[in-house]
């Protein structure tokens, strides 16, 4: 882990709509700082609006941050890849999905393709590998899975990791370092994003929740299925001995796959 790059975006508060540091990007920066790399590069690519929000990242302990200034409505992938190639990072960290703009979550994958790196989604921990037969430069990663489960895996070579929200929380941003930090603007060329300009946008209206509708039966049956919760269908044991009750519970748990 000599050379780590972090890709930072400008987030958007979900209620007030104000520009802020993006939550998972801040966690990515936190993880990068915890790795104590020899060289840490932080990059933001985008139009030169709301760039003051980037100072929140500087307040976390960054000294400088590169700002690739792009015209409005352009694709940031090409300039980012070109810029990252100069630094040749072994690890690129970023958030899972942008809080503003298209938010397709494609950026880490396209960057990885441009840099010929592996992609590891939903990472919560990164460390040097412990396996003795592993190649140099391999890293042990821990991924977050649904339902709080975790998976360990080894990545060889350069990789791009996206950070899961259950990764260690980002430290608070301090005001003094945020003022002292340097944002270095770099002008870059980018091509216009024709797909996005082809899309039409309108304010999101919440959709009605999808309900399981039971078909068939009488109107009364359908009403019951829609309104009543399941009740009275279970097995009932009245005053069994403690052992019989425990056995019934055990069998039921085994049947549900909760016990081996």
């Amino acid at each position: 882990m000599h050379n780590v790059a972090v890709l930072l975006s400008i987030g958007r508060h979900p209620v007030s709509g104000r520009a802020r540091r993006a939550a998972t990007d801040a966690q990515a920066l936190e993880m990068a700082l915890a790795l104590r790399p020899r060289r840490l590069t932080a990059i933001h690519a985008g139009p030169a609006t709301d760039t003051e929000a980037l100072r929140a990242y500087l307040g976390m302990g960054l000294e400088r941050l590169t700002l690739l200034t792009l015209p409005e409505g352009t694709d940031p992938i090409e300039p980012l890849i070109a810029h990252l190639r100069q630094f040749d990072p072994s690890v690129v960290l970023t958030g899972r999905q942008a809080e503003d703009g298209e938010g397709s979550g494609m950026l880490p994958y396209l960057i990885a393709r441009g840099l010929d790196a592996a992609v590891v989604p939903d990472v919560v921990r990164i460390g040097p590998t412990n396996a003795p037969d592993a190649m140099a430069g391999a890293a042990d990663l821990v991924q977050a899975l649904p339902r709080g489960q975790r998976r360990a895996l080894t990545a060889t070579g350069r990789f791009v990791a996206t950070i899961h929200p259950s990764a260690p929380p980002a430290r608070a941003s301090a005001f003094g370092p945020a003022r002292r930090g340097v944002i270095e603007p770099v002008a870059a060329q980018a091509t216009a994003d024709l797909f996005l300009s082809d899309c039409e946008h309108r304010p999101w209206r919440p959709k009605p929740k999808l309900m399981r509708v039971k078909r068939g039966g009488s109107a009364l049956d359908r009403l019951k299925a829609a309104t009543e919760s399941k009740s009275g269908k279970g097995q009932l044991l009245v005053n069994p001995t403690a052992e019989a009750g425990a056995l019934a519970i055990y069998d039921s748990l085994v049947e549900q796959g909760m016990l081996p």
Binding site: A98, E200, L210, Q235, A248, I249
Partner: protein, 410 residues
């Protein structure tokens, strides 16, 4: 749908007289013998309906209005008719105009709700122009026929348990080459979205992620952190958001295995850069209640907190409690289940000494399997549970701990 209830004959003197009248002669003549007059079909007989609905005379009359009064006497026949309910007709698309690929997750081998929703979304695109839905997943396609799959491509069985996103993506890209489908849909689940983005990056195509509504001409998704709705023509690669489409019901397609020149193995020669994947054991008490799968919960009927903790450890379950327990300080506040605590969606909920206040039952509406142990037979929790045991929690908990240890050592 229903046959009209039994009709009492209504006496209509004028109609009877008209029926008996013969007008052939010089003057009208009246027949002596009675002639059956036409009955009024629309007349209902409330007494007959009431008699048919009566299911119990003693000690007090009880009526079951839900059953059809006319068919009350032929209940067994109705049961037989339900048992032989016809399967929905098989829909065959022999010559599809185009193909829609649905790449399914099938976590743990079973077809998830999200997978069925993806097939439903694929059917929207396929049915618009006579196309066919091709499902791609591990395992056989028989379970997918009722979800709406026309053709099925089985991936190697070993991929079900291993974490092989690069190989899955390579297989998807190979299928894209071989079948040239018009659209490819993925579930927007952690694994499905990952594979979709790998395929999109490799193909250099635009991914329309998290589709919320879909038609042949227009697809929409949420963008800008959920504040905007973005619409576009359906692109080639799309992921389908969870709970955006209703899964299909009452359909049957053929889910025929598709003969291919082994494109499934196309992913085998990819040298994976990610390896050594293994599940880590997780401390169940470190999980939040909303994401855990197995909850052991205590209510006011639990006094033996030592065995409760021991049981949680033996089962590997996350400990939780009702409001009373958390108020009393036996468990921390974030371990409270219910309306004012956490609404849980665990797969299994084991409740000791919980009576089942409405607010608590509200918190466990999403739970699939509930086991309740309570001393009160008439508690609401006993009615809600799938397995209810009327016994003292303090007696059952040590017995269950002993049983688990016995079985583990045996």
């Amino acid at each position: 749908m229903t046959t009209p209830p039994t009709i009492r004959r209504r006496v209509d003197p004028r109609a009877e007289r008209a029926a008996r009248t013969i007008l052939t002669g010089q003057r009208p003549r009246l027949l002596r013998l009675p002639v059956a007059a036409t009955t009024n079909e629309r007349r209902r007989d409330p007494r007959a309906i009431r008699d048919a609905a009566l299911v119990q005379h003693h000690p007090r009359p009880r009526y079951d209005w839900t059953r059809d009064a006319a068919s009350a006497g032929i209940a067994p026949m109705m049961g037989a008719a339900i048992a032989a309910a016809p399967a929905p007709p098989l829909q065959v698309i022999a010559e599809p105009a185009y193909l829609i690929l649905a790449m399914l997750d099938r976590p743990g081998g079973e077809v998830s709700e999200h997978d069925r929703q993806v097939i439903a979304a694929a059917r929207l695109l396929a049915d618009a122009g006579g196309g066919a839905v091709v499902t791609v997943s591990t395992g056989s396609g028989e379970a997918l026929a009722v979800a709406g799959s026309d053709r099925h491509v089985a991936l190697p069985d070993g991929w079900a348990d291993d974490y092989v996103p690069e190989r899955r993506a390579a297989a998807a890209s190979a299928l894209m080459e071989a079948l040239s489908p018009r659209h490819i849909l993925f579930p927007d689940s952690p694994d499905g979205a990952d594979v979709a983005r790998r395929v999109a990056a490799a193909a250099g195509e635009r991914l329309f992620a998290g589709v919320q509504s879909l038609g042949p001409d227009r697809a929409t998704r949420q963008s800008a952190g959920g504040s905007l709705e973005t619409g576009h023509r359906p692109t080639r690669l799309m992921t389908v958001a969870a709970d955006a489409f209703a899964p299909l019901d009452g359909v049957r397609h053929e889910a025929r295995p598709l003969d291919l020149a082994a494109p499934q193995t196309a992913g085998e020669e990819v040298l994976p850069r990610l390896g050594g994947a293994r599940r880590l054991s997780v401390d169940p008490d470190a999980l939040s209640l909303s994401e855990t799968d197995f909850i052991l919960s205590a209510g006011n009927g639990v006094t033996d907190w030592g065995s409760f903790a021991e049981l949680g450890e033996a089962l590997g379950a996350t400990r939780a409690g009702s409001r009373v327990v958390c108020d009393a300080g036996h468990l921390p506040r974030e371990r409270q289940v219910g309306a004012s605590g956490t609404v849980v969606s665990a797969r299994c909920y084991l409740a000791f000494g919980i009576a089942g206040a409405p607010q608590h039952l509200q918190g466990i509406t999403g739970v699939r399997h509930v086991i309740a142990i309570n001393t009160d037979l008439h508690a609401e929790m006993i009615k809600r549970a799938d397995l209810s045991i009327v016994a003292d929690a303090q007696a059952v908990m040590p017995a269950l701990i002993r049983l688990i240890r016995e079985r583990r050592h045996a």
